[in-house]
């Protein structure tokens, strides 16, 4: 009895599925919804207001997956100086980098893999304020890491021979 009932129900659902006539692309005509929402430009497009730049919320329309906007955390920092003989211009810009997610070794080739689209992205800005405004507009959580202050000594060659400026300390 029980198995008979099961049989009839499965058959019924199958009939239902195919009895609905499926439309083809050619059956669709005049999608009236196309004009149901008025998306014409406003007649009067005079400025609404003046708002602080960082109050603009662009995260929702940026196309970034919304989990990223919630979970990810940004680091606003000045990149470290190149230890080789390069110039110091590198340290004049501010960078925004996202937190790291899991990486793994590709089992076949041993290449480094990641499923995180932000893993290789660092956005550059001319100033700290710009970087902060970017994070705030997008709605990211962020932290600012101030660059360490480097103490510079004024050195002169002549000081080596001065009687009152002790530049070399005897080891004896």
């Amino acid at each position: 009895m029980n198995s008979l009932l099961l049989k009839t129900t499965t058959r019924l659902s199958r009939i239902n599925l195919f009895s609905i006539p499926q439309r083809t692309l050619f059956d669709v005509q005049n999608v009236w919804g196309r004009t149901a929402v008025d998306t014409q430009k406003p007649i009067d497009s005079s400025p609404l207001a003046e708002i602080p730049r960082q109050d603009e919320s662009v995260g929702a329309i940026s196309g970034v997956p919304r989990e990223f906007l919630k979970e990810r955390r940004c680091r606003v920092f000045v990149p470290a100086r190149n230890a080789m003989q390069s110039g110091t211009n590198n340290g004049k810009k501010w960078k925004v980098e996202w937190d790291t997610k899991e990486r793994w070794e590709n089992p076949l080739m041993g290449w480094a893999s990641s499923s995180d689209p932000h893993s290789s992205v660092a956005v550059e800005f001319a100033s700290k304020e710009d970087a902060i405004i970017y994070c705030e507009r997008m709605g990211y959580k962020y932290e600012v890491i101030e660059p360490p202050k480097i103490q510079r000594l004024n050195k002169s060659y002549g000081a080596n021979y001065s009687w009152n400026k002790k530049t070399r300390v005897s080891t004896k």
């Binding site: 609905i20 499926q22 149901a36 929402v37 998306t39 497009s45 708002i51 602080p52 919320s57 700290k128």
Partner: protein, 126 residues
């Protein structure tokens, strides 16, 4: 977290995208919501392989609208409405394929769920 107080507030002139005030933006959102609801019988037969029922489709549409419920910027709302409108036309004209319409439904998400608790994440290896 916010440092707004410390950074200089540069002002920006804001021009309307579509709506001038919140009432107008709300009207546009509701209009879009209504055309999606009216399309439900057609979505069911056009995307039959998703096996959607009418109540389920209503929930799916509501869920997609409620995702952006915290957006308060009028201009952002307008752009989201325009995007929703484009999505609607794509769906109604059957420019989507069956699986492409399924992305609206969060229960049809086939991605492996990420572990939430500390121990589960530990067992996963990160």
């Amino acid at each position: 977290m916010s440092l707004s107080a410390r950074i200089p507030q540069t002002l920006k002139q804001v021009r309307p995208v579509l709506s001038v005030d919140h009432a107008e933006a709300k009207r546009r959102v509701l209009n879009l919501y209504k055309i999606w609801l009216r399309q439900i019988p057609y979505i069911r037969i056009d995307y039959i392989k998703n096996n959607w029922t009418e109540p389920r489709l209503r929930d799916v549409i509501k869920e997609n609208f409620m995702r952006n419920k915290d957006v308060t910027d009028i201009r952002a709302i307008d752009l989201l409405v325009v995007r929703g409108q484009m999505d609607f036309v794509e769906t109604a004209e059957i420019w989507r394929q069956q699986h492409n319409a399924a992305v609206f439904d969060s229960t049809k998400n086939t991605y492996k769920k990420k572990p939430a608790s500390f121990l589960e994440r530990f067992y996963e290896g990160h």
